[in-house]
Structures are given as structure tokens and as C-alpha cells.
Symmetry: D3
Subunit: 67 residues, 6 copies
Amino acid sequence: MPYVNIRITREGATSEQKAALIKGVTQLLVDILGKNPATTVVTIDEVDTDNWGVGGETITARRKRGA
Amino acid sequence: MPYVNIRITREGATSEQKAALIKGVTQLLVDILGKNPATTVVTIDEVDTDNWGVGGETITARRKRGA
Amino acid sequence: MPYVNIRITREGATSEQKAALIKGVTQLLVDILGKNPATTVVTIDEVDTDNWGVGGETITARRKRGA
Amino acid sequence: MPYVNIRITREGATSEQKAALIKGVTQLLVDILGKNPATTVVTIDEVDTDNWGVGGETITARRKRGA
Amino acid sequence: MPYVNIRITREGATSEQKAALIKGVTQLLVDILGKNPATTVVTIDEVDTDNWGVGGETITARRKRGA
Amino acid sequence: MPYVNIRITREGATSEQKAALIKGVTQLLVDILGKNPATTVVTIDEVDTDNWGVGGETITARRKRGA
């Protein structure tokens, strides 16, 4: 019955990539902890680069200065 | 002072349904735990079906195959 | 497939109260949005009063001054 | 390595305000807890007023009646 | 810069299992989305079975009746 | 009505430090976004170093090898 929330910046992840991520994380929980995949929930939040900060500045600002 | 976060798939919940959910959850916290409704916060996140997985596959894929 | 997270201060909620909360919230999602209860997950986080703030002060401080 | 999530209603916060918030929160973690800013992550979620409730009603409804 | 939160019931996951989960999820984000592992954060929350519900009842209750 | 969640490793933050963090974050939301402090909620989650990973390894492991 695990619940997993994955947060990434919204920068063009495709449906295929997101499906692969959901499949992969679910399988890890089965393999490592013996969890039941049928009740394992994974959600992905894509967050605008203006709304994500690291090192005290937004990802938008970091991208602009090439960081 | 409770904080409740409800996550559902983005599949057409109406403003009325969301208002009813907020009202109902707040009332439960009053009735069961004696919480003050004035400081009870409820947020609802609607998540795209591509970004929600269960059983290792996305809700989009499940809907397509009629699951 | 909803996921609900309820956060309250750790101040003695009983197992019975928590079970009632889980039951009630699940039923609301069934009644209002037609969700399947079998795949509705509810988690409750109990947070120490030192770790919860409102109005810029901790709940511990508010309780001490009778707020 | 702290992770901070800030949730506000979606009511026109500007990129500059969000950048200031990210900068300020990161600095607080440096000043108060001695955290390394380079690995401090801050995300901001802007939530529709239909999806945010307090006192058992949505912010949309509160705004309408001038609360 | 992804942030991943994994929530499981507190039922004896070992330090080794949790380390394997952190390693595996980080690698998935590298392999599927090309993320930088150095800034990928994974947290695991272990939630008491009294505080986790599915199907409207707690995991504690489900375990007792053999579900 | 903002809600802020701060997640740090459980490594001895004092009650005074946590109170300062709550006060400071609340003030930032007042100063930058004009939010009402009375309805601003801040919670702090302290996460065991075994349950927090960065760069694919736990903080426990990083501390041991002096990272």
C-alpha cells in the first residue's frame, strides 16, 4: 500500500517517461520490500521552474545563467 | 489547526463537488476530534491521469484498456 | 484511487478516533465523487506541537499562554 | 539538505515575489540551522481558490462574500 | 533536482532495504529522465498502521482480520 | 492562508531553532506576499538520517564517510 510522490521541474517529461518512472518505482517496492503492486500508488508533480528553487534561486534564473 | 490534502485524478470534479468535499472533511474533524473549523485548512490537488499510477501503470493506460 | 493526508497536532488522538476519521473521509469520497473505497488511501500524520506553528508561533507556545 | 514546500492560493504571485520567497526561506535555513544553501530545495505550489478551503468553505466562496 | 517522498507503513523495513530503495529510485531518475543524482533527494516516511487506512479501515484492523 | 512544510534531517534542532524558523517563514509570507499571519501554518518534519537520501545514498552513510 505504499504511496510515492515524485516532484520534478516541468521541462518536457513525456508520457512514456512518466509511465516508465511509475512502472520502475512500483517494481522497486515489490522487489525490495515485497509490497503488493496492485495497491502501490505513484504520483508525479511537475512544478514550474519559477516555483522551484535550489541554492536560494529559482531554476528559471539558474537556467538563464547557464547553471 | 488541521491541514488536509486530498489528491484525486483530474477527471472533471465540479466546483460544487469540491466545495462539498471541503465542507464534509472539515465537519469530520470537528465531530471526531473537536477541531476548530475556522483554522482547518483543506486543499485538493487534481493530478493528470498521465501522472498517476497504480499497479505500475498510469491511469491513462488503465482507462484505455477499460480497467 | 484518491490519496488523502491528514495532518494534526500530536495531542492524544485515540486509535478509535483515527479509525473513525479514515472511515469518514473514505465515505465522503465515495458519496461525493463516486470513488472506489477499496483503492482510497488515507494517512494521518501527528506532528509535535513544537513543530507546528500558526500566527508565527508554535502550538506549544500558544498552549502555554492559553491561546 | 532541507526540502521546503510552500502552498499558497493562485492569486497572482509574481515571479519576483516567488524568487524572493525562495531566497528568503533558504537564507533562514542557513541562518537558523546552519544548512547548506546549495542543497536546500524550495518548491511553491499555487492552488486554485476552488481547491482551497478554510472554515469549511472554499476561498472562492469566501472572496465572493467579502470574507 | 527531483524530490521523491515514499510513504510506507512502519512494519520493520531495515536500514539496508531503505538504502536500496533510495539508491534504486535515484538511479531510475537518472536513467529515465537524465536527472543529476547529486541533487536528487529521496525521503521515506514510515507511518504507523493505526494511521494508514485503505478501504475505509486502518491497516491495523486489516492485519487483525487477516486481510 | 498559506501552508508551509519544512523537512529537515533529525539531527538535534532545538525547540528555540524551530520556533525561530516558524516565526521567520511566517514573517516572509507577510512581507513578500501580504499574507495574514494569523492563518499561516508552518509544520516541520524531522526525518531520520536513515530515511533521507541524496546522491543515491542515505545521510547516515554520507555522515559515516565524512561527506
